[in-house]
Symmetry: D3
Subunit: 240 residues, 6 copies
């Protein structure tokens, strides 16, 4: 089987992370993965949710939305975020919190707005991969301004999707592949090679333990490459 | 380590499935797992969502809610289901659809209402395990009434949680264990030993590939036992 | 005329009150009246609504909901409580407040959640009759724990429905009778034989002063019996 | 005891019904009862709610709202009608439907908008009393236009409040009396002296059967006078 | 061209302002312009929006609503004010704030409720013209009660509509004219002849600079007359 | 006075229109005006609102939203569009409809989504100016595909803001100027030099007829330049 865009089964789409694309935001990234484009913008507030007040600890939360015409046909704006949207927001937030030592952030909330300008599948994993870099930029600026003593990073996190399509195991599904997958997986890992989240859903047909093992290995490899792309983007951030 | 209730790490809580507990519902089950109690009630309508009209195919959907005082302290009734609730509803629905051959259901929608009367963790997996039996009862009645030619079952599905607590791998977490887990997993499998869903979240600390392998094995074992308990409950359903 | 279930016109349905059915709730009751089943659960909070703050006085409020498949056919979950639901909640709350000396409750709010597991008419009156017992249990526990000096009860309250069906005056209507009634009445009384609430609605045909007098007498008799059933249930509550 | 405004205990407030106050409405009435002022406007649509389609039968429904500054202090506009508002709307609708033979209305819906311009208690009973006249005007116009063969009236309906204040039985409470009542009652009756609705609520202290009998007699007398005032207003409606 | 109601192109409809029509409100006006009738009622609260707290400055805000049957056919009550309604509310509020020196009002909020009893176009401009007088009455009462040292009025404001209909420039459009206008304008001016707001919308066909100049002159003339009518109404306000 | 960014009073900010920036949309534009950046994307549906069905006529509507971090500080996502947002959406829609001969569009709806990526004032006028070009691209593609016989354009429309700041008349206000303006105006004009919309609001102080004349002349000049920039962008659209 050849993939629609000629990629090998274990090949990521071309992925580009551009940092500092917004003028007003504390940290901002445009991540492009194939046709998928997500704008991640970080905002910092000097307060935390009620359950953390007085703890000295910080918080990271994420919002996720699509422009109405990010997709092939227009989707109405969501007034109340649908279940799928909330599920994605919760996933992004949990994943980014895994990257950071919240106790060393101070009582601040970092809101990472992930707005999908264009969607060709993999938007939630792109949001995690790009969101980490935007968050890094925002935190690094606090360190530069000496409002934080040092970088409270535990380990970079990045994410990708893998799937089983017509029996093949594929890395980084595009929309056509995702829509026809027997099972698809979102995997979030750290730069240390540990798992933050594994979500594997049989859309059409249950999958064997063996197939699960295979796709997890594919994801490990792809995420390794994304971690490198993040590292390069971070290296290009101009010192404050 | 001994677990709070004296169970071994690989031991399920006492689990009981009582079928036919509601007078009016086409299929109903009370599933009790330790202190967790979920009432599953199936309703059948002779119509399907718009995207299936004219397809000859059926649909299965689930709703999930807690009584306000199912929990240790009262929670307000949810007006608009929160993200977590919607995530759970989608999981239950997907899992139950994996058990049934929708093409052989006719253009009918089966709504499985899962109402948590009492909650001590594991409510979503109990809802899947109990919901399957309630669904079986409702479908079997259609077959008895000759409104369906035969049982359109692909394979029973059941679910459990597993987790990593203080480095130990534990089967079927109760509330105290769940709240303190480093990582927790909901696993849905078929009677054929295949996976329908794996959701593994590092709440506190990322987990290694090795730990993931271990908990998946624990889940396989526990779900095997739940499949047996389902089989017994189904055997006790009185013929229509 | 014989009633569908063979009862005499002035006969209650078999009514059973089981106390302490929920593990976590301060007071809980399952009341069964014929096929009608209502779970009443009391939660206590150490705060009162704004208009009572600083008054030293307590408050009692009720919520009422049906499981979607409590009824013959499924009803969607109510997101915003409909007018009928709010009317019922207000009636239950008012009735229970009439039973208790709020000034001797301390600044506490008692929320009585009345969840209808199964509905065959008379759910609101069952909720009042059962709710009183659940409330008694919750308050008695406070007295046992010496958080209250003595029981601040004014008089037990119980409720039933009466109706005019095909010209007959009937006590405790079931669904079939209720649906066909010319007029129906919900009556709430105290153990002292006084009225807390009379609501009499001509659904089909106005009723005479004479008919009103007759059904009020029927209600007085039925409520007397319910007060006895409450007293027995309370006697069975295990001392704390 | 003398009442604040010098009335006898069994005396209505001065009540005036002006018909035809709105230019566009099919039937309209301004009813003034003391300081209470309610504008009732009828709108006719040639369709009925779903449950009546094809039945040949008509429907009458009511809406009720207060201007924000109808009251002593301003109340915010209700976005979603509160429980109290819905309760009132349902009462007005039921009461007006009791006056009319719906089967002789044709498949039409009459919406009676009751907007309280000024409120000094008794707004819901004024809305019923005035709403009946506005409805009469709208129906009479249909008869004049030969769109209905004859007046489908069963019996005029009118309503008033009665209450127990400091042990006294009072007719037609104003705000000060209503706020301090031990129990208050809304009573709706027909011109034939039968009851459409009795709602009696002990706000502070339960009431005896004897007290109930007394206030019902007061209501019968007051409603008789209101029926006369309605009759005069109808007599003044200009022929179409 | 003759206008439907026989007016000259530069002629206002008969306009009448009656002050003090509500018993409880601090200031109230019924303004009638042709068939259009708007009830304006002012409420004063001793607090201001958050952004003004501690500033010593007051605030004026407006709400606008129509009775459902103000119009030729019934419109449902708006639960959430629609865009058009909010636009109107914001316009009324801005216009009235332009009339008053907010810094001399004290930390008070004046809410001007503009409820349209009957609508034949020009309701928003009638609300401004009438609202100013109601506000004047409310403020004058504060001065009478010596709660304000003097009248903090900058200049009276009044408003009217003008339009281009079939090429003619018309003052004070009624509904039939408004519906057929090529362009319509709402103009708000002060008694000093300055502009507070100009809103000119080409509904059908863009308009030239020349046409714009013409209708602005018409508006200037009409608003001059309205200012006189306001002055007369204010002169009739009884001293407190 | 020199303006903060060194512009002359009658000088537009650097303005750039890039067409075709979205892959899936029928017409798309990124318009940049100083730091303001708006993405306009057109979607075509083969249906029209109810009031146009069967008319053979088309419709154009607009939505407007800001990314949460388009602004200096983060604003929460709007669930229900606020009054201001709806006002802007209605303005954009009306303005774009003025440009097109709807009767020659066929029964199609064009939705123009205007998403503000970055905001430094003038976002609604940028949305109109850019939206026209995106709409042109979408319509031109229909002509290229011979789904429309010819371009149903009446006249290009463009828009700008003007204001009175410290007595000076300024063209194309940036955020700092807008916030401090005594009065500000949004003006929409056609390429033929006629007015589609004039909205002039005295935020702080009423303005004279003379000042109004001055700013209208400024707007005429600026819009002339924007019409040229639109023309250049359209010339660069690649033929389909």
């Amino acid at each position: 089987m050849t993939r629609a865009d000629g990629r090998a089964n274990d090949e990521l789409r071309p992925t580009k992370i551009t940092c500092g694309v917004q003028t007003f935001s504390e940290g901002s990234v445009l991540i492009e993965t194939g046709l998928t484009r997500v704008l991640c913008a970080v905002s910092i507030e000097d307060k935390v949710p009620r359950f953390l007040r007085g703890s000295g600890q910080g918080w990271i939360t994420a919002e996720y939305a699509m422009l109405p015409r990010a997709t092939l046909t227009r989707s109405p704006r969501e007034r109340t975020p649908r279940g799928r949207t909330q599920e994605i927001q919760r996933l992004i937030g949990r994943s980014l919190r895994a990257a950071i030592d919240l106790e060393r952030l101070g009582e601040r909330t970092f809101t990472v707005d992930c707005d999908v300008l264009q969607a060709d599948a993999g938007t939630r994993t792109a949001a995690i991969t790009g969101g980490y870099v935007a968050l890094y930029q925002a935190i690094a600026a606090l360190v530069d301004e000496r409002r934080l003593p040092d970088m409270p990073i535990r380990a970079a996190v990045a994410a990708t999707s893998v799937g089983i399509v017509d029996g093949e195991r594929l890395l980084d599904l595009c929309y056509g592949e995702d829509a026809g997958a027997q099972a698809d997986f979102n995997v979030v890992m750290t730069a240390d090679g540990e798992f933050v989240e594994v979500q594997g859903t049989a859309e059409g047909m249950p999958y064997s333990r063996r197939a699960l093992d295979d796709v997890l290995s594919l994801a490990e490899q792809g995420i390794g490459q994304l971690i490198d792309i993040q590292r390069d983007a971070i290296a290009r951030i101009a010192p404050a």
